[in-house]
Symmetry: C2
Subunit: 94 residues, 2 copies
DNA sequence: TAAATTTGGTTTATATTGTAAACTTGTTTA
DNA sequence: TAAACAAGTTTACAATATAAACCAAATTTA
């Protein structure tokens, strides 16, 4: 009846990050932080988890002498997100 | 951009219970336990939380000499569920 | 009829999380 | 050059989900 919801995506902040990354080509740390209204520490931790799961790719560089963390969703991440959304529908079905 | 997701509903099991209660007039403990594939302890705890939040009404009686716990969603619960679903849409928007 | 099993739960313990506060490293500004 | 700021990371804590253990009453079995 109810499909299991991927615990990695069933988290407000991680879902928000993934939702943004589904819509844009890539996003940097500060952008994600602002759009989600989350604290930096929280964003940092959740980006790590998503990266470790292979849902996103993270690249670190410098822009204007300052660190720049750029995130991009992976194929695995897209698949996981779509699966999660489908599973959600078994709960909210309409 | 992203709306907050009611933490009480953003839980796989509680969402499953509420989803069932949105669809039926009322449901008893064993039915909820079976449909959600959860353990009795887990169902018991989550029913308590939903009741304390005023999202469901719980009635205890006896059927065939055995305890019977019956749950029914409240108006507050219906409103909360609908709000949750709308907020979810800001994440999965499509 | 005493013991074992089943039913319908509740309570308790634990392991996992989510989260923010505190910290770090480097840069800009006053 | 001290203070403030930027961009994160690490750490600590509180909250949560979950299942194991437990309980009481009824039923079945030996």
């Amino acid at each position: 009846m109810f499909k299991d919801l991927d615990p990695l995506l069933h988290s407000q902040l991680r879902l928000g990050i993934m939702s943004i990354l589904m819509a844009v080509e890539h996003a940097d740390f500060t952008y994600l932080k602002e759009k989600t209204n989350a604290t930096a520490g929280n964003v940092s931790v959740q980006i790590d988890k998503l990266e470790k799961a292979g849902y996103i790719k993270v690249a670190k560089s410098f822009r204007d002498k300052r660190p720049l963390t750029t995130c991009k969703i992976s194929k695995t991440g897209i698949a996981a997100f779509e699966k999660y959304v489908n599973h959600l529908k078994t709960y909210i079905n309409k």
